[in-house]
Amino acid sequence: MGEPVDGELVRQARLGDPSAFQHLVDLYAPIAWRTALVFLKDRHLAEDAVQEAWLDVWRGLPRFREGEPFRPWLVTLIANRCRKAGRNARERDVPLDDAAALVSDAEQPESRVQRVETFDALREALADLPQEQRRMLELRYFADLELAEIAAVTSVPVGTVKSRLHRALRALRDVHVAERLALVNEEELA
């Protein structure tokens, strides 16, 4: 989690150094953004939630214990802000656009079709999962949160995170999405 760097930045930010705080914002902007998107699926709401979470960080820095990991605390604050924003604007589990609109035009027609089919199949399989399992998958594979961080932001034990991820992945495999996905990965990894 990059704690040696964080530690010094957090220490200086606690002393009121705006440039250290700016560095923290720079450092964690991507994960903050991705986490907010997972919860809100709305650019404007996510921007506001991230903004307010950074204010929470600033206000909470005096109570933050030196030497403790910063990132789990940050993502928890992000999740709290998102939860509130999302509840106010209806917490969203918004399906996304047709995969066909998202694939690159530069792709070869064959792989494009294959990818669209794969993503369609994956979307269908994901739609059958309980919402909390989809959320865990997004936090894990889009937001790139670690298991303990997912546990923190969803307020469930790490064991529950593991079991939900396991069930979700198994379900995807069980509906044979994996076979299609393997093809996509081979292309991507090539």
Binding site: G16, L45, F64, P69, N88, A89, D97, S155, R173
Partner: protein, 457 residues
């Protein structure tokens, strides 16, 4: 190695499925764009940061650009706790509420089932809010079939229901050709509910829209017909409402961020009719601005509704408990067929408002029997912040005046919890326990404080 084994650690090699999920999510979330520039974020934070050091930072909360009635915590003014009106409130509320409520049949049915029966060709309701599934007698509400047509789009109000907490309208939109306008917030319609006095009822931020099914949600706005359930907050009901509420439902379509009006020569109206108007991936301006502009013109659909009102049991308590130096006041409880609401006054001393992470409801028992939660999961904890902008506490209850710009008020000291408690056997000794949900400082081993309230209904 099995999937399970591979997901047990953070650094395990990923399977094809996991790698493909990353690719899928990269594509899916691409539509939201990149993270905002940190320079811009800092520019917005600067007034806070430069005001003082982090320990004494100005508590002003940044405004959000949220959509109508959903943009932020809305104001509940403290009332009875300050004044001496509690006894009168309790007596009046109990008499009126109980009288209205006892007329309601016991709950044996859920809204989702009813929806599925109404449109049997649709997949079952998969994605509705569990709290919308609070049990109802199947004869609650009223079937109506009021239809209006705007440029090839026929909107039909199918079913209406109201109690002390919620007003629910089910409707369908059918396109004569092309695709139907979808229900908000994903697509092209914006709903407004007012009463004869012009009082506006905010959408329930808990679940303003319940698409008929996940399938419908996926293809919202893309099919020839769309069915939606829209939930309004009944908090604006004042006094002792009659058994039938006379309401006015108006809907405005908008297309690519611009409103369209009936009778307008604007070609976008025709586009909206033919549903060629896509759901914009990025709004040319804020949704709030679009809606404000839309409401300057006539609605495309307008209905006068006579909604049956099933009341509720309001109980004013004003109980205050302190734990770990933190004070929580359970001001009021409203039990109704659709849900139970707890109105709680709690202040984060750092900001002088309700904390960003209010206490969670961890359990509710009635006469020793667990009434809530159905399962121990944060997602079902019932946490919610709701209310209405510029609310005032009248002698006959909280009041929400019409508010054209509700997202500006973020000064609440109240948190409102929505609990999906079945209304069977609600009378008895209630025990409600809250647990602090404030972020724990890393390394803090102390258990979070709890508050347990006891009262009789």
């Amino acid at each position: 190695m099995s999937f399970f084994e591979q997901t047990q650690t953070d650094d395990a090699p990923e399977t094809n499925v996991e790698q493909a999920l990353r690719a899928y999510y990269r594509h899916e979330f691409e539509r939201f764009g990149d993270a905002p520039a940190t320079d811009a974020q800092m520019a917005r934070l600067a007034p806070e940061i430069e005001a003082d050091g982090p320990s004494t930072v100005n508590p002003t909360v940044a405004l959000t650009s949220g959509r109508r009635w959903t943009g932020g915590r809305r104001g509940w003014r403290r009332g009875a706790r300050r004044g001496g009106l509690l006894p009168a409130l309790v007596a009046a509320a109990l008499v009126m509420g109980a009288a209205a409520f006892v007329a309601a049949p016991l709950v044996v049915h859920i809204i989702g089932d009813r929806l599925s029966r109404r449109w049997p060709d649709q997949p079952p309701l998969l994605n509705g809010d569990p709290r919308a599934h609070a049990a109802h007698d199947q004869h609650l509400g009223r079937d109506v079939h009021l239809a209006e047509t705007f440029a090839g789009q026929t909107m039909t109000v199918d079913w209406i229901y109201a109690d002390a907490n919620r007003i629910v309208v089910d409707y369908t939109v059918q396109a004569s050709s092309g695709q139907a306008l979808g229900c908000s917030p994903l697509s092209l319609l914006d709903e407004y509910l007012t009463d004869d006095a012009g009082r506006q009822y905010p959408m329930n931020p808990n679940d303003p829209y319940v698409p008929l099914s996940l399938h419908q949600q996926v293809f919202l706005g893309r099919g020839p017909s769309v069915a939606c359930e829209v939930v309004f907050d009944a908090v604006a009901l004042a006094g002792s409402p009659p058994t039938t509420l006379h309401m006015h439902l108006a809907l405005w379509p908008y297309c690519a961020g611009e409103p369209v009006f009936p009778g307008s020569p604007d070609p976008r109206a025709q586009a909206a009719l033919a549903a060629q108007c896509p759901t914009p991936t990025s709004w040319p301006k804020s949704l709030a601005e679009t809606l404000a502009q839309a409401h300057a013109g006539p609605p495309a659909f307008a209905f006068d509704l006579a909604i049956p009102f099933y009341g509720g049991i309001p109980v004013t308590l004003g109980q205050t408990l302190t734990a770990d130096g933190k004070t929580v006041t359970l001001e009021r409880v409203v039990v109704a067929p659709s849900e139970t609401r707890l109105f709680v006054h709690v202040i984060d001393p750092q900001i002088g408002l309700a904390p960003s992470s209010p206490p969670l409801v961890t359990s509710v028992t009635v006469d020793g029997k667990t009434a809530y939660p159905p399962i121990a999961d944060r997602a079902d904890s019932g946490f919610e912040v709701v209310g209405c902008a510029q609310a005032t506490n009248q002698e006959d209850g909280f009041d929400c005046p019409p508010d054209p710009n509700p997202s500006l008020d973020r000064t609440s000291e109240y948190v409102v919890y929505h609990l999906g408690i079945p209304v069977v056997a609600v009378q008895g000794q209630w025990v409600v326990t809250f647990r602090s949900d404030e972020p724990q400082m890393p390394g803090d081993k102390n258990p979070p404080p709890t508050w347990t309230f006891r009262f009789q209904i």
